[in-house]
Structures are given as C-alpha cells and as structure tokens.
C-alpha cells in the first residue's frame, strides 16, 4: 500500500513539474519570437514592463496562461463531479445545459446587436445565461427525485437554448454571426488582468465547494442506495455539486467561451493514470492534469507560427477524442467498470 501511495505521489510530482514546464513554455512561445533570457528578464525586472517585449509577456502571455490554467482546472473538476453524480462516463461540465444557457445569453447580446459593455458585456450576458439555467435546475431539483431526470432536464434546457439561438440567427447579420461564432470557438486570449481577480474568485469558490463534497461523492460511487445507507443526503449533495459546477463552468464559459472536451477527457485520463476513483486523491490530480492539458491545447493553437492562431475548440476536440478513444478501448479489454471503483 505504501509503495502504491509513493508511486502515486511520484506521478503527481511529475504532473506538477509538467504543469510548470508547460506554463513556462506558454509564456516563452508565442507568435512573436522572444528569447528565453529576455522572457526571464522581462518577468524579473519591473522596468522592463513598458518595453514591447515586456508588454507582450505581461499583458498578453501571462494572463492567457493563467486563464488557461484556471479554465482547464475548473472544467476538469466539474467534469469529474458530473461523471460521478450522473454515473455516466460521457457526462461533462456542460451536460446541465449551463453552456447552452451562457450561449443564449451571449447570442442575445451579440446577435441582436445591443453591443453593450464590450467584453464585460459578453461576460455578463454569458454569466446571466448560465445563472438562469442554474436557477431552473435548482428549482426543479426539489421536484425531481433522481439524478437521471436532472440529466434529461439539463439536456432539454440545452435544446431550448440552442433552439432560441438558431431563431436569433435569422434576425442577425453576417458580422454579428461572425462575432458569435468566434465566441463559440473559445479562446483564452481575451481575459485581461482586470478580469482575472473576479474570475479567480468565482473559480476559487467553486473549487472549494467541490473539495468539500469529495467524501460524499466517493460514497456515491457505490450507488445511490448504498450512499444513502452511508448517511449521504443525496438532495443536499446534488444541490452543492450543481452550485459548484455552475460557478466553475459558468465563469469559464463567460470568460473563454464554451471549451469542449477538456472537462470530459481529463477525469478519465486521471482515473486511468492514477488507477483510482477516489475523489480526494483525484481532486488534485484532475486539477493539475486539467490545467496542463488546457495549456497544451492553448500552446498548440500557436503551433503553425507566423502569428496564425488556430481555434481553441478545434484543438481540444483533436486532443480530447483520441484520449477518450484510447481510454474506452483500453478499459473494455481491461474489464468492465474498473475505473469506477475506489
């Protein structure tokens, strides 16, 4: 047991080192080539902040890397919670219709051409949409008995929101459509320093909540009735998981757009690598792996060089699907349901 623990800790240390490396790479590599020495001097000397290089690193790359870390961690943690809550390996942060609600909010703002408040307007609209879905879910959570009903409800809310968005398309013009489509492609580059503190605050709250529910989620792995006999109040658990997920995914969607696949793929990857389903152990590993994968995806968007940036959601899909496929094919040979045990 001790050896197993050590092996897991070693793997975790490796993941942390990898995260640090990826973070450094993310700051050093961009469309403008800046030598590593200059990157370090720009970061260490406050006087360098006003040079072009300093501004690129401080105003563009650093906020973007921090955003990628926060978004990847949040989405992965909420994916982990959703998969356990719904007993569904395909569940992700967006199954509750929260991103669809956020999309509707943004569509109302961008497609109708109100254009109020610039980027903060988009954040506000997206947050409001996500919050509206959360309120509906929480209200209905009191009425429905099972998690499956909640899952279906989330899906239906998503359909309604998407339906309304497609109706809004009809009353829009091509410029606005382009703005909206750009938002749906996702990006970490739009978050500036002014937005990072509120972003971090909301995410911090969501992560704390998720940390608090790890123990009851472990009990839930044994099945709903088993968890109940172990003293878990399922309605209470569902309530707080919903709030936590809404805070995490709602804020990420608001600031970065709907980022696909990271939230679904990372929990699977961690369960597979650390060979555990125990939530307290998984929490940190998922957090770190999620941040790393999201940094990796963000780095890949700049792979082509020459200042060309690929759409983030294209990259996350290309990275996420092979991981999922590998895990699903791998687990089917290794035995059914293995990943779901403690």
């Amino acid at each position: 047991m001790l050896i197993k623990r050590n092996w897991r800790s070693l793997l975790l240390s490796c993941a942390i080192v990898l995260l640090a490396i990826l973070f450094t790479l993310s700051i050093s590599f961009g469309s403008v080539p800046i030598p590593l020495g200059e990157v370090i001097s720009a970061l260490s000397n406050p006087e360098e902040m006003n040079s072009t290089t300093g501004k690129i690193i401080w105003q563009f790359r650093l906020p973007q890397a921090i955003t990628a870390v926060m978004a990847g961690a949040s989405l992965s943690i909420s994916g982990l919670q959703m998969q356990t809550l719904f007993h569904n390996p395909l569940a992700g942060p967006f199954v509750l219709g929260i991103s669809a609600g956020a999309s509707l909010g943004v569509a109302l703002l961008v497609l109708t051409g109100w254009e109020v408040g610039g980027s903060l307007g988009i954040v506000g609209a997206s947050g409001a949409g996500a919050f509206a879905v959360l309120v509906i879910l929480l209200l209905s959570d009191r009425l429905v008995k099972s998690a499956t009903t909640l899952l279906v409800l989330g899906l239906l809310l998503g359909y309604i929101a998407n339906g309304l968005v497609s109706i809004l398309f009809q009353f829009s013009n091509s410029d606005r459509l382009r703005n909206y489509i750009n938002w749906t492609l996702g990006s970490f580059s739009n978050v500036t320093w002014a937005q990072i503190p509120p972003f971090a605050l909301v995410i911090g709250l969501g992560l704390l909540l998720s940390l608090a529910v790890t123990q009851p989620l472990n009990a839930l792995l044994l099945g709903e009735s088993q968890a109940r006999t172990l003293g878990v109040k399922l309605t209470w658990l569902r309530f707080w998981v919903l709030v936590s997920t809404a805070l995490l995914t709602g804020s990420v969607t608001a600031f970065c757009g709907p980022i696909a696949f990271i939230g679904v793929a990372v929990p699977h990857l961690c369960r597979h690598l650390w060979r555990t389903g125990e939530h307290r152990q998984l929490w940190l590993t998922v957090l770190i792996t999620g941040a790393s994968l999201s940094l990796m995806a963000d780095l890949s968007t700049r792979l082509l060089g020459r200042g060309i940036v690929l759409p983030l959601n294209g990259i996350t899909a290309l990275m996420g699907t092979p991981i999922m496929l590998w895990l699903i094919l791998g687990s089917s040979s290794a035995g059914h349901g293995q990943r779901w045990h403690l």
């Binding site: 961009g30 563009f60 382009r178 060309i308």
Partner: protein, 446 residues
C-alpha cells in the same frame, strides 16, 4: 407596342407579362384561364360588364400576340430613340452596340462585342472557382447565336432586376436605372437613402433576409436578372439554387479585385446589362481621374506615416494583406502600411500579440470596426488596445461615419467611390494636402 397596351390597361399583374413577348406566347393560355376564372368566378349570372371585360381582355391577349409576331417579322416599326428598346427589324449586318466598354483596371471580367450580342466572361467568379463563367447578353428582339454555349443568356436591356449585394446598388443609381430594381436581398444591410425612400413606397421586396432565399417571392416577381456573388461555399452561396429554378443569375466578382479602381470599374459590368456603356465610361473616367489626381498629390510626400488596420476578434486579428486593395489604398494615400511587404491578396489572420509587436508604435490605426464609435468603446472591448501608440495619441479613424445599424455606406457606395475613400485617407495622413476636404466615410474616434 406591347408597352402601349400595358399603359392603356394599367393592369399591374401583367406588367412583366406584357413586357415580354416570349412570355406571352408561352403562357397565353394560362393568362386566358386566369382572366376567365378571375372575372367570371363561377357565377353564371355574371353581369354584362364582366362579360365585356372578358371579351376585352381576350382581345388584348390576341392583339398582344399579334403585336409580337408583327414585331418579330419586322413589319411594324417602333420608334427607337436609343438602345433601350427591343429591336423590331433585325438586320444581321447591324452593330446593335455602338457604345462599347473598355476595361482598364478590373481583372475579373472581359467582354467581347458581336453584332447582336455581347459575350461576357468572368474568369474567376469566386476565389476557388475552377472554370470561368460565360454570359451571352442578347439584344432584345434579335435571334440567339447558335455557335455559342454560355452559362446564361440574358436579354438586354434588362427591365427588372434584383441585387443580392449592396455594392451593386450604387451602380444602378449611377446608371439611372434604380427604378428597375424590384427586389433586394436584405434591408438591414442597405444604406442607400434613395433605396430607403423607395422602400417606403412599398415597391421593393426583400427576398433573402438573413441569407435565406424567399423563393416564392422571387418567382412571383420573375426578374429579368439577378446579380449576386459567390464565395465558393455550398452552404453560403444562393446562386446554384437560383440557377436551378431557371432564373437569370449572374455572378459579380468585384470583391476579388485587388485595386480600388478595379473594384469600381465593375460599374461597367453592370452597365452591360442596360446598354449603358457610354454613361458608365463617362462616370468611371471621372472617378478614375479624380482618384489618380489625389494619388499624385501624395507622391512627393517624404514622411509616410505607419498604419495599422483591423482588430482582434476573439484572439485573431485580421490584417489586410500586402497585395490587397486596402494596402493599395494606403499606398496611394502616401502611408507606410506595416504589412506592405506581405504577398497576400486577402486578409491575414494573426494573433493579438503578433500585431501588437509590429504595430504598437504605428502612427495611425484604422480598425474598420462597425461597433466602435468612440475610444471608450475600444477600451471596453479590450483594455490592451490602449497600449497602442495610435490610440494614446488619438489617431484612430474608423470607417463608420455613414453607418445605420448593420448597413455601412463604406462597403456600399464606398466601393464605387474610391476617389472619396482615398481623399478621406489622404486627409487623415496628410491633412495639408487636401485642406478643403471633409471626411466622408471615416471619422476620428474621440
């Protein structure tokens, strides 16, 4: 001749029908049926008046047909004041197009004149097009040439048309044929005050709102011509559907031209369909002369300010390519465009930081952003824009002075008036060269 009948009857529903002899011949039994059913309406006790009406309309139909026959056989002579009417007396030796267009700047189309038809070739109808398109513009009332296999045959002069691009509207205004417009694609994109007024009189139909064709309305109006454009994307392009319906559709590829005057010269393309080559030539020559004159002003300037274009869209900043028409504008306006050495004709997608690294010290910034009306709008969108020197010095000029909602006149009449756009740019970069000019399309953001 048919025209005269039409006027005396004043029957709106037959406007198009009576204009067109061929249509009448093909469909006379339908019209007859229509008249009968509408006038008698299953009531045997129809009044004497209705009976007379029926008799009269049948007579009209017969006469109309006869009129066409007479026209085609060349026995009736109608006064042709100009080349705006059908030929009654076809003569194989006559040159029916004494006024000919000559193309100087536009690279996208060519026209060759034959006795009674013009052969127009669009080499590249859209960027990814593999084959050229060929249109025969046949003088009304003359026989079709047997040895040509075009993609479309359009009888000219065109009497009713729809335009699917707002850039074609100024052409119609310039050629004084705007009355022939019966439909436009989407009102929300149209700026033209002339058209807006026409719309208030309710005789202009919107036929492709939001890019979705209103097929029934298009067929009901049955225009002689539809001008549109294609981007080579089956999802977005509407013209294949229109062609399939048997409508007379031509593609206009002016947006692929890489010079401002090249784009404006497509006025001559539109003119071909109205036999208005002389007017187009005259108007375009004036535009070109004014443009060249302004461009000459900047040739002697020694200090050329650096210029940055575009804005960041969710992480991607599209700057105009070095071989694009925008770059040509900046060159002619005596500016030093930062991406002038680039070889792209379209736009280049770059990251915000790449643009910042190159453009943060640029003297001027032309964002071409529809939604920005003040400097505060820019910082609300992203605070990092305030780091640009042009922003700090208040040298941000946007092309939305003439914009109402989604309709920006810069992309409408600005295409046909490159001289005015150039004057604006020179006024921005070198105000002393054009002291009397007031910015027309651009505004300085405060």
């Amino acid at each position: 001749m048919a025209l005269r009948f039409h006027n005396s009857v004043g029957w709106r529903n037959y406007t198009v029908a009576l204009f067109n002899c061929r249509f009448l011949k093909r469909n006379w039994h339908k019209l007859d049926q229509f008249l009968r059913s509408n006038i008698i309406r299953k009531r045997p006790s129809a009044s004497l008046v209705k009976g007379l009406l029926l008799a009269f309309s049948s007579l009209l139909l017969t006469l109309g047909l006869a009129g066409c026959d007479v026209n085609n056989s060349g026995q009736a002579v109608i006064n042709f004041q100009n080349n705006d009417q059908c030929v009654a007396n076809f003569d194989a030796q006559t040159d029916y197009f004494p006024q000919k267009a000559s193309i100087k700047y536009a690279k996208g189309f060519t026209v060759s004149y034959h006795k009674n038809y013009k052969l127009v070739t669009i080499d590249r109808p859209f960027a990814s097009a593999k084959t050229p398109l060929r249109y025969v513009l046949l003088q009304c009332g003359t026989p079709f040439p047997k040895d040509v296999k075009p993609d479309q045959i359009i009888t000219v002069p065109v009497r009713s048309l729809m335009v699917f691009s707002t850039t074609h509207i100024p052409h119609l205004e310039k050629l004084k044929v705007v009355d022939r417009l019966v439909g436009i694609a989407d009102w929300s994109l149209v700026y033209s005050p002339i058209l807006r007024e026409k719309a208030s009189q309710r005789n202009l139909t919107e036929v492709a709102k939001g890019g979705r064709l209103n097929i029934e309305e298009i067929i009901r109006l049955n225009p002689d011509l539809i001008t549109t454009f294609a981007v080579g994307n089956a999802e977005a392009d509407t013209y294949p559907k229109l062609v399939e319906l048997g409508l007379k559709v031509v593609l206009n590829a002016e947006y692929l031209e890489n010079s401002p005057l090249g784009r404006a010269e497509w006025l001559k393309f539109t003119a071909l369909f109205f036999n208005q080559e002389a007017l187009a030539e005259e108007e375009f020559n004036q535009i070109a002369a004014r443009y060249e004159k302004i461009a000459r002003l900047t040739q002697k300037v020694t200090r050329k300010p650096t210029v940055l274009t575009g804005l960041n869209y969710q992480g991607t900043w599209y700057v105009a390519g070095g071989k694009s028409y925008s770059a040509q504008f900046l060159r002619d306006a005596g500016a030093n465009y930062l991406w002038a050495d680039d070889q792209t004709t379209g736009s280049i997608p770059l990251s915000f930081e790449a643009v910042f690294a190159k453009g943060n010290n640029a003297d001027f910034w032309l964002p071409n952003a529809a939604m920005w009306r003040s400097l505060a709008d820019i910082t609300a969108s992203d605070r990092r824009y305030a780091e640009f020197a042009a922003f700090r010095r208040g040298q941000v000029f946007n092309n939305n002075r003439r914009q109402v909602d989604g309709a920006n006149d810069f992309w409408e009449s600005g295409v046909l008036n490159p001289d005015v756009v150039l004057a604006d740019l020179v006024k921005i970069f070198h105000p002393t060269l054009l002291p009397d000019h007031n910015l027309f399309y651009f505004q300085k953001l405060q």
